[in-house]
Symmetry: C2
Subunit: 151 residues, 2 copies
DNA sequence: GTTACACTTGCGAACATTCGCAGGAGGGAG
DNA sequence: CTCCCTCCTGCGAATGTTCGCAAGTGTAAC
């Protein structure tokens, strides 16, 4: 597949260099599908090819670069930063702060939000993979003491 | 003012205890208005009353508690966590990833989003003080190399 | 007022992440 | 093809934040 060429192109497009490390991190994220922490990515790469072992700081920096190029998205995996290949498909996370459930959200809702924000303020919101916190249906029904009773 | 009583009430309401530390942190945030980092809060309290000096870890835990009780909101102040008194007024931050500008956003837009999410999924989104990242009007007009040109 | 229990605090150590520097590599100009 | 400039990498140290444990304190029940 021409994924590699694509990554290279996207990087050059944004004035960044195309390096082996960036390619490997991008490939790891793309082929693994889900969310991965920086540590997981490093271990994955080290397992695949011991010569490619790179320090965690480089993984972090590489991920930051790919994130700026909007090739990967950063999501929150229980206090730890996790990264996800963006091209997969825009989707969003509704994360319950009580039970930790991660409910998916139909992208259309945020797309229209993005449009509204643009027309109201001119701001170009990046909502490709956005996390929203709150209480899931079950937890907010259970209600317990935390009934969120404000105006 | 009955702020203190209010804080105490809100805490008890949610099954938490009312302690001096929580009161002081809450008061500091409420009276200072803007965003404060954990360190600033600790220094503020230490300056006010040397006897109230508390370790940073306690400040962090206290802030986490107040955040869970939805009395304060956590915002992102350039990589550092900052905290803000919530009762002030719900408002949102549009943060430009290029120039760092922090544009305010009319709360109504997210309120309706919150409603839509609720009716679609039953999820109770907490969007009191939400940060959205992207490119501000000026930066997305300037366009530079990063033209976001993806399919 | 007293007792008991669970929640909190204080402290230090651990954790994830970022920063600064020196050497190395990408990519365009000649 | 070679040179050069700039950006990137690797490494260790520093940063901000969280965790675990033992002692202390709030709250409710008696």
């Amino acid at each position: 597949m021409s994924c590699e060429g694509d990554t290279a192109h996207e990087l050059r497009e944004t004035g960044r260099r195309f390096t082996v490390q960036r390619l490997k991190v991008a490939a790891a994220l793309r082929h693994c599908g889900g969310h991965r922490t920086a540590e997981e990515i490093r271990d994955l790469l080290a397992a695949e090819d011991p010569h490619a072992a790179m320090p965690l700081s480089t993984v972090y920096r590489t991920l930051a670069t790919l994130k700026e190029a909007r090739l990967v998205a950063e999501v929150d995996a229980g206090g730890r930063a996790a990264y996800e290949w963006v091209a997969t498909r825009p989707h969003h996370h509704l994360i319950c702060q009580r039970c930790g459930a991660d409910v998916g959200l139909e992208p259309a809702l945020l797309t229209s939000l993005s449009d509204e924000i643009r027309s109201a303020t001119g701001f170009e919101a990046h909502l490709d993979q956005h996390a929203i916190y709150g209480a899931c249906a079950r937890c907010s029904a259970t209600g317990s003491t935390m009934d969120g009773g404000e105006a």
